[in-house]
């Protein structure tokens, strides 16, 4: 039913290919005006690339992305869905978590719209604006911000219906989960810690992070909520927090729960003793930051936090929504890959994801 309406919307969007100017407000309250639908888009924020591909339903209109966007595609399921994505240039910024644009490389791509972070400093924005590019500034941290990304992407691709469907899905799952977790008493919410970095230094997600939002939503309690976004802490602080569940980021590719279990200094931490250390899944994108599959993150986490309370059919949820987002289906092996059974198989309660 839903997909029928969606197909109709697609068809109508295509028939208005040459359209009126599109105008929208970005997340820094700037008005951005395009001559028509964006045909050549560059995304600098890392999760924005796969989200754009998801909204647009293909890679044709994405002409540039961040290097770390590509590492989430390469070798993972999105590469299978959109093999052409690997050919999209990703040399448009500095190395690592750098968002400084390489303006000349960018200009050579002749983009008609560039997505850039709006919550960092303006030095990463001004060169783009000064080069005469259309720039849409987006922010991270709250779920509402992510919805706005979808809205903007829907508008500029002429696919507002798809974007709206993706937002509606978020609403549905959020309401579903909120109803289920709202009643969980403070004392029954597992103390949860998300490691943004673990291998080189210990950096955790604080109260202003997006991670904090979904830990809450899934019925947990972020032990680091007193801190800001992502903050360096000492090992003793972690012991003092004594998290019951530890979540490992998807950015440090080699990081696995074994690294945490093998650390003698963390041997007394509840999550280690009860083997509740989990690598964040990686589907169409890393599930830890906000992304087009966030509702799946929330559902997965609610099961990780409350294996006795929740038993969503994750395989089914993944399959149905991949059908809707990407128009693709996945098999049981794909699901195991997405949920990182390679690293999580031995973790406590993880077998609840196995029989789906």
């Amino acid at each position: 039913m839903k997909s029928l309406a969606f197909a109709a919307a697609l068809a109508s969007a295509a028939s208005w290919a040459i359209a009126d100017p599109i105008s929208f407000e970005d997340q820094r309250e700037r008005t951005v005006t395009l001559d028509g639908e964006a045909e050549r888009v560059v995304t600098i924020p890392i999760p924005a690339a796969s989200m754009f591909i998801a909204v647009d339903g293909g890679t044709d209109r994405l002409v540039g992305m961040h290097q770390l966007s590509k590492t989430a595609i390469k070798g993972r399921i999105l590469e299978r869905f959109y093999p052409d994505a690997l050919a999209i240039p990703s040399n448009i910024t500095g190395k690592g978590f750098s968002f400084v644009p390489n303006v000349e490389e960018l200009l050579a791509l002749e983009p008609d719209l560039v997505f850039q972070w709006g919550h960092l400093n303006d030095d990463i924005i001004d060169p783009l604006v000064n080069a005469g590019l259309n720039v849409a500034l987006i922010k991270i941290g709250q779920e509402a911000f992510t919805r706005k990304w979808l809205t903007i992407m829907g508008e500029v691709t002429g696919k507002p219906e798809k974007a709206k469907a993706m937002i509606d899905w978020r609403d549905d799952v959020m309401a579903e989960l909120q109803a289920a977790t709202a009643g969980i008493a403070e004392g029954d919410r597992p103390r949860t810690l998300y490691f943004m970095n673990y291998l080189s230094s210990l950096r955790v997600a604080g109260g202003k992070s997006y991670n904090n939002f979904y830990i809450d939503l899934a019925g947990g309690k972020n032990v680091a909520s007193e801190l800001g976004m992502f903050v360096e802490v000492g090992i003793e602080q972690i012991i003092s927090w004594d998290p019951e569940v530890i979540l490992l980021n998807g950015f440090e590719a080699k990081l696995s729960p074994k690294d945490v279990y093998d650390n003698p200094l963390l041997a007394d931490v509840s999550a280690v003793k009860s083997r509740r250390v989990y690598k964040m899944p990686l589907g169409g994108y890393r599930w830890d930051p906000p992304n087009q599959e966030s509702p799946l993150t929330w559902l997965w986490l609610s099961m990780v936090l409350h294996p006795d309370k929740f038993n969503w059919d994750m395989a089914d949820r993944i399959n149905r929504n991949y059908e809707f987002i990407y128009g693709q289906s996945v098999d049981a092996d794909d699901v195991r890959n997405i949920l990182r059974f390679d690293m999580n198989a031995d973790a406590a309660n993880y077998d609840i994801f196995a029989d789906g």
Binding site: K95, G96, L199, S200, S201, V233, G234, I235, I239, L265
Partner: protein
């Protein structure tokens, strides 16, 4: 006139008081630091845990408390103390050898050379031994380059030395940037960045041993050379006319300093200002004689960095980089000391 020795003079008695004070302060600092941290362990339990190492005590404490005190705090305090002592000894030796209050391991290029060596080691391997080896190798190399640039007609003027140090440091900083640029952004780059920032957060006994051996060896050499450093601090010409083998002496001291600096850099990244400020402060207490100055600087440096690290690890939930605190404290204190010294005619050269 006394034909005995120097132990009965009032100065020697004052010195005995100084040693007693500094050693007690160090012991108190270590005990105090074992008792503070983000994880609550009661003072009585800290004491019991420590005594439990030598006495057959029935544990009244949680195993986790023992682990926190003995596996997390103790090695961290050890490393901070060793680093502080090492940097202060290195700084005192350099200031003596170059007769210049502005000289520290950072200024003559050792630190930046060692930083590059360490960053490069992280890039190519995961071995701690390799890290310290590369840090030492490139620290020495940087110092050789500085010395090579500054030597003219067989001798190195202090001004040239400092200028050459600035040039060499800039060059090795660029090499560090290149290393960062080519590093894998997923794992190597954050490791290098974090290491360069300087932190004792990843302390362990293995690491303490790794830094402890070179620091102890280097400091011992410096201490054995205390009289020669005194003579060298008169200036090259005077030292030579007094019969000192100037070049050889300086090289022995410089190698020892490079060894100490490399070990500290390898264990904790670049921790600035300690090697500059602490020897000054120690000199105000002890006078310039390196026989007294070097051990005093070592003790004061250890006490200082232990407390700096206490602030870094225990004041708030987040880790504060140690280098930030030492710079915040060090720069103004150094400016004050410099002005004081200038008024006394210290800066005559």
């Amino acid at each position: 006139m006394s034909l005995v020795d120097e132990t009965s003079t009032p100065a020697a008695k004052r010195r005995l008081g100084l040693w007693t004070t500094l050693l007690s302060l160090l012991a108190a600092s270590v005990l105090f630091s074992l008792g503070i941290g983000r994880f609550g362990v009661s003072v009585s339990n800290v004491v019991s845990i420590l005594l439990g190492n030598v006495l057959p005590l029935e544990p009244t404490w949680q195993p986790v408390e023992e682990r926190v005190v003995e596996l997390i705090r103790m090695p961290r305090i050890l490393i901070a103390g060793l680093a502080g002592a090492g940097l202060a000894v290195a700084g005192a030796a350099l200031q003596g050898v170059f007769r210049n209050p502005l000289v520290g391991p950072q200024i003559i290029g050792v630190s930046s050379g060692a930083a590059f060596g360490g960053a490069f080691a992280i890039l190519v391997s995961e071995s701690q031994v390799l890290l310290i080896g590369f840090a030492f190798g490139f620290g020495m190399l940087a110092m050789l380059v500085v010395y090579g640039i500054s030597r003219q007609q067989g001798r190195a003027s202090i001004l040239m030395l400092v200028l050459a140090g600035i040039v060499t440091s800039a060059f090795f900083s660029a090499l560090v940037s290149i290393t960062k640029f080519v590093a894998d952004p997923d794992d190597k780059l954050p490791a290098i960045v974090f290491w360069l920032m300087g932190s004792f957060a990843s302390a362990s006994y293995d690491k303490a041993l790794l830094i402890g051996l070179p620091v102890a060896l280097g400091s011992l050499v410096v201490y054995l050379m205390r009289f020669q450093i005194n003579v060298l601090s008169l200036g090259d010409e005077e030292a030579q006319s007094l019969g000192l083998k100037v070049e050889r002496t300086r090289w022995i001291v410089l190698i020892a300093v490079a060894l100490i600096s490399a070990a500290v850099v390898a264990a904790a990244g670049i921790v600035g200002w300690v090697g500059l400020v602490i020897p000054h402060f120690a000199r105000m207490l002890t006078g310039p004689d390196h026989k007294v100055l070097i051990p005093a600087a070592a003790l004061i440096g250890a006490i200082y960095l232990i407390h700096v690290d206490n602030v870094a690890r225990a004041s708030i939930a987040a880790e504060i980089p140690v280098g930030i605190i030492t710079a915040l404290l060090g720069a103004p204190v150094f400016a004050y000391l410099l002005r004081r010294a200038a008024n006394k005619g210290w800066s005559s050269e």
